[in-house]
């Protein structure tokens, strides 16, 4: 990620730690996993989005495997989550906040990297959003939940928004640390609004009314 200003690298690392913590807490909540499973799911959540991004851009081995700090922070997040797991009931909102942090940061950085690798506007926006939601989607699939990106509360929309703002700022020539922070902050705010208000995008008519998917 040498194309990013240093503070964006810091953000990327924060997002990695947040997703590591979040993925591991999800593991504790959703399935009967031992410490290895908890940390593994944290690492997958933290590194999954970036790995998908880098594979699709052809930048392999992925940045998250070349730079040891990503893996270290993902594992650390998982271990912290394991230690915190006895207070899980009080951590519901923290899980959501951490998830929103990772989502926002990764969508911005993913979109920025996609433009740097020559993708057009539409695909760069999509790839940014995929970077944001990818790790969580693998996480949910592995513990047999319908992924957040498909079912919930303004999840894909803020990711797409952050990626679109990023790509727009780059094409306007105003992308930099502040633009990146603003795009991430807007994504974070929309996502948290969705969580707090329980908002959902419109549902298709003809779909069965309630319950949770599958």
């Amino acid at each position: 990620m040498t194309t990013e200003p240093p503070l964006l690298l810091v953000l990327d690392l924060i997002g990695t730690f947040a997703f590591g913590l979040n993925g591991a807490l999800t593991a504790v909540r959703a399935a009967q996993l031992d410490i290895v499973g908890v940390v593994t799911l944290g690492v997958i959540t933290a590194l999954g989005g970036g790995i998908i991004r880098d594979v699709l851009l052809g930048d392999v081995p992925p940045a998250t495997l070349r730079d040891w700090r990503y893996l270290a922070l993902a594992v650390l997040g998982g271990l912290v989550a394991f230690a915190l797991s006895q207070w899980l009931d009080r951590l519901e909102m923290s899980i959501n906040v951490l998830d929103a942090v990772g989502l926002s940061v990764f969508a911005v950085i993913g979109a920025s990297k996609a433009v740097a690798f020559g993708l057009g506007v539409g695909p760069a926006v999509i790839l940014g959003a995929v970077t944001g939601v990818g790790g969580g989607t693998i996480r949910d699939t592995l513990v047999r939940q319908v992924p957040s990106v498909l079912r919930s509360d303004l999840y894909a929309i803020p990711a797409l928004l952050a990626a679109a703002l990023t790509v727009g700022a780059i094409h306007l020539g105003i992308y930099g640390l502040w633009a990146a922070l603003a795009a991430a902050a807007i994504c974070f705010a929309v996502r948290m609004l969705g969580v707090v208000l329980g908002l959902n995008a419109p549902r298709p008519r003809g779909a069965r009314p309630a319950s949770d998917g599958g």
Copy 2:
């Protein structure tokens, strides 16, 4: 996909739209998804097979991300499906027909591209089939169904057949628009025969008799 005749590009785009529509309708039927989830699942179904193909061939960023028409048609398919969702009960057969169209077209084009990238006969056939079934397999996994390719009604067989016919035609020097259309048509016919007659390949002895998997 510059190695394909123009009409095959048209076919590829038709397959993309068909899979976008199909994936989104599946989303409405199988899980409680909002409009973002419905369109997202349509896009994943439409682009998934081609992305897997291009990643395995090292042709990244994938063609479906470099050419905006794929993404546009996939999203359009998803939106049309969302609009149609109130008549879902009457669309059962359409879902199957659309799925068979995408399966056939993608298997042929995937196999052709695999040969162009230097894969041998066996791997090219496999990669063609993977291109055909890949998007639907991701779709089914995300909405927590055992994928069609594993459980049903002559699904992998027609895809393998279309890919094998394509690879055979290329090696015989007779591959072109008509050969591609013929291979796709045979795949489509076999798949629809499976759907209509409820045919299945032989099951293993010792397996439990009924119910739906997992």
Copy 3:
């Protein structure tokens, strides 16, 4: 895999056959699949880990698609499993042994290849473990089980151990056939100990007490 001594290639092929057989037997046990589904799941299990490894290393098309013997052995494993499926009840332990063989061999070879492609120590260990557990993880996800790597009996630990021993041996300059066999044997022994004794790594406090995941 030209960087490996010939006997390691043999081991790699044995691991492929073992995973093909194992994946297909799992298919028979876990879900109602026809012969195509059974063989398909065997092939996915056998080739999945190596394909993920090669995609992440940028060595595409993956070795398992360039060398026909991998595909042939994976299919053969699936067909043998189909033929054996009527004696499934007596094959429980064989499934576990085969799985441990594939896990051990693939973790060693994956780690060795990761070092050869320039990954650092930590990422090479992770990639080795991913090579070992990747195919089985896809297998479990497709038949809707929480993957072994997340839930069970010392599964990730022996894979990480084998990969770490391999990377260590390479950095000490003592890697070769015997070191590879020793690393694989230790992984196999730890994994089988876990199976036989039903051992698990510590579970998080606060997790619900019993039942099987999701």
